[in-house]
Symmetry: C2
């Protein structure tokens, strides 16, 4: 059911295994309560970039890294990241969901921040090797997964405002429960903006998340779960949530905001579009004015809204509200289309349905511990 990772003919850069890694893996115990992104598996990957080239990567024991206090990542946020999941539900073979998409986006984000591209072989070593080494700790209930976090950051110690010439790429792995099981209530953010037009909204970079924290705090105060961001220029069109893309079912069609350059091109978003179309649903990428959407909800023309992302997969939206307390209600537990798309996607990810799109990637044998040289 799963496919091997495509062999793109790129030469293997080689990798090393840190002393004591096997012992660390043998000694690791999965805690009973996992949460999301707070427990880390015992094996991680690191490759360093120096003098214009990538050095061989190393699989290491998970633990603190040493960073110069003047490292650019600590001052100028020269950091990009990805998030993807390895699934191993009901004892099936571990498989990653569309890992090549994350590699492409990682390098597109890296280019936006003038960081060097991560070669495919280094990325593949990282995500598959870390999955293989942590395989025993992938939780197996539906919704659970090994959340993989590849990230790239400037380590050069220099307070001048230039591009980092020393960079590290790491992959860490977090055995995780489902991220957001319930339906969500969103605050329509009419004051702040997440990113600028002509900014870095389409890149997956740390700075885009830091600026969303204040609005998130406001959501918590006002009794909302998450922020719904509007476009930064006209403050009219829906863009995305902090970390998820937005969908609405209007007149039986599935609408989602066009990728304007200030919206992250979500991999789950792309998967939902493909999946919906394959099931005969009409999907349109278009501008969605938030006030128009509120009218459509009031008129009953918009029957469902949901958000999607790697962490949450698909999460129904039960209401959209304003800072003054006015709220516009949707079905409390989400609608039928939301539920059926979520189930269809999870069935592919968790191996219960045929992978007709070729989205799942099995771990190549060479990353099995038995195939790795000591």
């Amino acid at each position: 059911m799963t496919q091997p990772v495509p062999d793109h003919g790129i030469q293997d850069t080689g990798f090393q295994l840190q002393d004591g890694l096997d012992e660390a893996i043998a000694a690791f115990c999965l805690p009973e309560v996992l949460g999301f992104g707070s427990v880390f598996g015992p094996a991680m990957f690191r490759a360093d970039y120096r003098d214009g080239q990538w050095l061989p990567g190393e699989f290491q024991r998970y633990g603190p890294i040493a960073l110069e206090p003047g490292a650019k990542v600590l001052h100028y946020a020269q950091e990009v990241f990805e998030g993807l999941k390895a699934y191993r539900v009901d004892g099936r073979e571990a498989a990653l969901f569309r890992p090549e998409m994350n590699w492409r986006r990682l390098n597109s984000s890296a280019a936006r921040l003038c960081l060097p591209a991560v070669p495919e072989s280094v990325y593949v070593d990282g995500v598959f090797g870390v999955t293989a080494l942590n395989e025993a700790f992938i939780p197996g209930a539906s919704g659970e997964s090994l959340y993989l976090r590849p990230f790239l950051f400037g380590t050069e110690s220099n307070l001048g405002m230039g591009v980092a010439r020393e960079v590290s790429f790491m992959v860490i792995a977090s055995p995780s429960q489902a991220y957001h099981p319930g339906s969500m209530s969103l605050l329509i953010e009419r004051g702040e903006s997440r990113v600028a037009g002509g900014g870095i909204g389409a890149a997956k970079v740390g700075g885009n998340y830091a600026c969303a924290l204040q609005s998130a705090a406001r959501c918590a105060e006002l009794g909302y779960d998450l922020t719904l961001w509007l476009d930064p220029v006209k403050r009219r069109d829906i863009e995305e949530l902090s970390g998820m893309n937005f969908f609405a079912v209007v007149d039986g069609r599935l609408l989602t905001p066009t990728l304007t350059g200030s919206i992250l091109a979500g991999i789950t978003r792309d998967s939902v579009i493909q999946l919906a179309r394959s099931r005969g649903l009409e999907v349109e990428e278009t501008s969605i004015a938030v006030d128009e959407l509120l009218e459509w909800i009031a008129q009953g023309r918009c029957s469902e809204c949901f958000a999607c992302g790697t962490a949450a997969i698909i999460a129904p939206i039960r209401e959209l509200g304003e800072a003054d307390g006015r709220r516009c209600q949707l079905p409390p537990e989400g609608g039928a289309i939301t539920a059926s798309l979520r189930q269809a996607l999870l069935d592919i990810q968790e191996g219960r349905a045929e992978d007709t799109f070729g989205w799942m990637a099995a771990i190549p044998d060479r990353y099995r511990r038995s195939s790795m040289s000591l």
Copy 2:
């Protein structure tokens, strides 16, 4: 000539000295070529925030810090920073320029990113203690200084998108040469934006600098020194450079963009305004449409432009240009008002002129090594 730091009656949180610090200071040699922000003095300061409170700070040997790979600063850019200088020109007593302003701005930036405020006593320990311990390494030629970098970042290891509950505040110090001695050529950036309206442009946070790198690379390609950013909504009004504020002399008056919320409130900017007014110059904070300014330059109504910031102090702008190569010329070495403001400010900072504004802060005796307990 210098004033002691104001005593605001805040109780001392206490601090510690790391073993081996004296030896590290004794062993340190200042290299002959300093550059800017690339050499670090042997003493640094660190205070950690945990369980809702600040722990006593420690003066440490400058060197790598240990950070969890899941630390929020590495993923979500939960980081704010400041820059200020200690001067000790021609053998005068070391003094800091307006350090209380940096403390206020640090905490305003921290609030924007939902990071805890740094208590005044912790900040004062950090900046004055680090200056005192590195005092022997403050270079003494005009334009040179000890560049201090206070920074605050989220260390909590958790990939969830929330506020860091574990945070560190550090101060590192870089003996530095003058940052940008020459006059600058600026690219008017009409495509990209630095920050969003309703974003974090007024805060001194890493993310604002990361997104400026691509435009900086474009400047280098096109033969410009730095980017001149326009407002992100109308793309019409001048905002700032990447890291400096903008001033123009028009019809004999000094104009600078109003602080709209997407411009950093520069401390040098504020000092230039006060200094210019004290010298009888009319200063107006206003919107400056870039195309109008270009006309004023062509008509001879705008005679000088300059940029200012802690690192560069005041740097003349010799031309403003477009991506297509059209360039609008100003006096190649800057004008008389630019030069005289720069000299007046440097004279105060470097102790040659009377500090009539009360801007310079001497190091309190308790931060002299001889007063610090072992």
